[in-house]
Amino acid sequence: MTSRELVRQSLEFFAPPRIPRQLWLLPWAEDHYPEELARIRKKFPDDILNAPASYRQPLPTSGEEYSPGIYVDEWGCVFENRQKGAMGEVKEPLLRDWRDWEAVRIPRERLSLDEDSVNDFCRAHEEFVLSRVLGRPFEQLQFIRRPDNLYLDLAAPFPEFFRLLRRMHDFYCEETELWAGTEVDGLVFMDDWGSQHSLLISPDLWRKVFKPLYRDYIDIAHRHGKYAFMHSDGQIEAILPDLIELGLDALNSQLFCMDIEELGRRFRGRLTFWGEIDRQYLLSRGTREEIREAVRRVRDAFFSHGGVIAQCEFGPGARPENIVAVFEAWEAT
């Protein structure tokens, strides 16, 4: 059985012979632990890969996203960073005044995707292949406005807010359609919706403004026979029923910010839990035994003839031996 089939069986709850795995990697890990990382890669190869995105028109970015200094993304948002291997923060808003909303430049260069290279990649690999991250409306708005301004905007949005969001969403839909036309297996979108203890905005506001956007992304994926994958950090229990209602296939979330057993009782078998194992404590400071117990909890809560992907993130602070412990624990389940 290929990795692609394994992942599909997990997503369809067809009792895969083992739980598929995927290691997420931040440049920090490559910088700090190149040899350990190579050994992890060899011992626990990924069943899920991300298709490289190459474009016929260069994206108008400048600087390095994960290096100290200034990075400008393709929208023109300016990130300041002081830590190698991690992402920076937007300190000055791109859009200071909503009257200038039309000046926000949509990065249409991303629509010049070299689809042939994506398809070649898919054909050359037997793993399950995901797109790059596509729709990311809430976070991109934060980058455009700076987070504190955006939260104030959301308390009483101007009409221009909705106009800009519409333009962004139209672009994301166009890009999602483009990727849906390739041979990737799944389409990915993301937005971090939770703080450590709750949703960042009210569930009602989320349902009114943002849920319809995700509905469109998921519908596009399904219309083209693709799986819909989403990532969100934080405590997002309040919107899980909504995401399931929209037909989301796989969700990567910070399970350890939530009541894992309660989530399992409510949602097992209705959605695939694409990781993760806690990166705020366990991967950096946890013991081998604590990690084994964490994996057992996730498996017991969510596995039901599938519905689980053994994912964790090797990012700033994580120890390589703990990443190994995660995958060993999954193998032992």
């Binding site: 504190d148 308390a155 990166r279």
Partner: protein, 207 residues
């Protein structure tokens, strides 16, 4: 009148709060009552709603903006009457960390609770916390970190404050931070969110 100030604040109605504070002052209500029973009481209610997931960050930010507008109206009277803040909080995000959304939220809630805030910003070295605490005669120091790689700086700040001979409490918070970690680095307090930070600071200062 004081209830109206609270209600307007909870709704984030900045202009209304300003008008009501003006009216309260004109009507002869004591400044301390307007502050404590109007603005601060409103922010206390907001803290409870936030903790119970009945309001979220946007509502807190607009309320804090209204609070600040009301405070600005009161400021000359507070100075004139010698009304002191509950305490001085030196706050900042530790060295190497540029994240400040959580820290700003905590600062707003503390200001709303009647504390004077000395915000040192982001990427703050340990020595700067200690120096600012001395300079401003801080009652308490608050540290924030978002990353597992930067939270380790908190230990150095606690040590720098003790090395400076200051016996004031240090309270920590941020996504990866836990109460166990606070105990481990000998910080005096921990708050998981902005509303809890107000409670924790009050508890540590015996208020």
């Amino acid at each position: 009148m004081l209830n109206e100030i609270q209600e307007a604040l909870l709704k984030g109605k900045k202009t209304e709060v300003e008008t009501l504070v003006d009216q309260a002052l004109s009507s002869g209500l004591p400044t301390a009552r307007i502050l404590n029973e109007g603005l601060i009481a409103g922010m206390e209610k907001l803290g409870i709603l936030f903790k119970n997931n009945e309001v979220f960050i946007p509502e807190v930010l607009v309320a804090a903006r209204a609070m600040n507008a009301g405070l600005a109206k009161l400021e000359p009277y507070l100075v004139k009457e010698g009304i002191q803040p509950k305490g001085v909080v030196v706050i900042g995000t530790v060295k190497g960390d540029l994240h400040d959304i959580g820290k700003n939220l905590v600062a707003m809630m503390l200001r709303g609770a009647g504390y004077k805030i000395v915000d040192l910003g982001i990427d703050v070295p340990a020595e700067k916390f200690a120096a600012a605490a001395k300079e401003h005669q801080a009652s308490i120091v608050g540290l924030s970190a978002l990353l597992t790689t930067t939270m380790i700086q908190m230990k150095g700040v606690v040590e720098a404050i003790r090395a400076a001979g200051l016996r004031i409490p240090v309270v920590i918070g941020g996504a990866p931070v836990t109460r166990e970690y606070a105990v481990e680095i000998k910080a005096d307090g921990y708050a998981p969110d902005a509303a809890s930070a107000v409670e924790e600071v009050g508890k540590l200062l015996g208020l």
